[in-house]
Amino acid sequence: MSVRQISRILPGALALALTGCTGSGDSFLQPGGPIAAAQRTELFQIFGWTMIAILPVFVLVPLLLWRYRYRNAKARYTPDWDRSAILEVLMWGVPLVIVVVLSAQLYRTTHALDPVQPLASENPPLRVQVVGLDWKWLFLYPDLGIATVNELAFPVETSVALDLTTDTVMQSFLISALAGQIYAMPGMRTRLHILADAPGSFEGENTQFNGTGFPAQRFAARAMSAADFDAWVAQVRADGQPLTEASYALLAESSTGAQAQARLGAEGMAPGVLHFSTVEGDLFHSILHRYMHGNPVPPSAQPGAVGYAPETAEQTR
């Protein structure tokens, strides 16, 4: 069996073993889309290749320690032996070859899985703008005119193009079962593409600590059939409230999804979720540009800041 074959079979076996014991479907070990699946494969391939260098250590340590224990007078003792050309070549050569192989693979997959690239799909792509707030995620659907908090719905087998920023401190956006994470930062726009193969609900989260409500900053990424998605859009339009400058100012206060529900009088929705039927103006770009304008953003106008008071800071918007 060639090394190549081993490296193919071993990951499969490991995948079985590992996914057998996973508890929830919110990890890339149980992928819901092509990116996460490719990331899982990559993980197992690295595992397989590095084992070539690692297994000898695992095996040799006990063998050597036992064989050359002090009381074993039968073992050979060569106190001055300290070099061997063959060993030297192996010691440098084997890790080097492994790293070269892994580097080639790394270069290929890093480019292939670059989060900026749209994903191949027959359906037209969907654009979603993501705004990280203290301690919730706001999703804007610019082509549909709706918005949600802590609920990201999208049709299956569709490339979803996410533009991300935040209106507070730095955050990191991760839906593990679909794709990797990307930072979201105020005044900057990062990009990520996701695609789900089949309907399902996947957990999304912020992984960059941003204050006391951090553990609550989770949301559901819901992949649904095209028909279900249309129905969902209609429902958001029906049960949502308009997202105005005033309601955004309330929403942007440091609060978890549940607290924001109470603040905006939207109890009765799913836990932590808010729906907005309309969005006033180009909210995403006005958030983005607020930090690029050359005007100071004092704490009173800075969501997440100590002393954020949007009522008194109207003039700076």
Partner: protein, 101 residues
């Protein structure tokens, strides 16, 4: 200033001063009178600055590559290497991020 060693060493300092002076006057003149523009000017300024740094190292700090003990030479070159990695890396990364966001 009677002894000859002293005089020749002082002359070296004066030579360094003259070179540094020239290498300062030229870029200031270029900018002041607007004799060159854009990229060409930027490159000229950079080249003249590096030349002047070499002049300072040679004539004022007496870094003379041929006569030093190797370990001291290594220190300076090594610093330049590491600083190069850090500064170039910073500009590369931050520049790339700026164009993408």
């Amino acid at each position: 200033m009677s002894d000859p060693d002293h005089r020749s060493e002082a002359r070296l300092y004066l030579a360094g001063f003259g070179l540094a002076l020239t290498l300062t006057l030229v870029p200031f003149g270029l900018v002041h009178w607007g004799l060159m523009q854009g990229k060409a000017l930027a490159i000229t300024i950079a080249v003249l600055a590096v030349a002047q740094i070499v002049v300072h190292l040679r004539f004022f700090l007496h870094i003379d590559l041929s006569r030093q003990k190797r370990e001291d030479l290594q220190l300076i070159l090594f610093t330049v290497l590491l600083l190069g990695i850090m500064a170039f890396g910073t500009l590369w990364i931050m520049g790339n991020l700026a164009t993408r966001m």
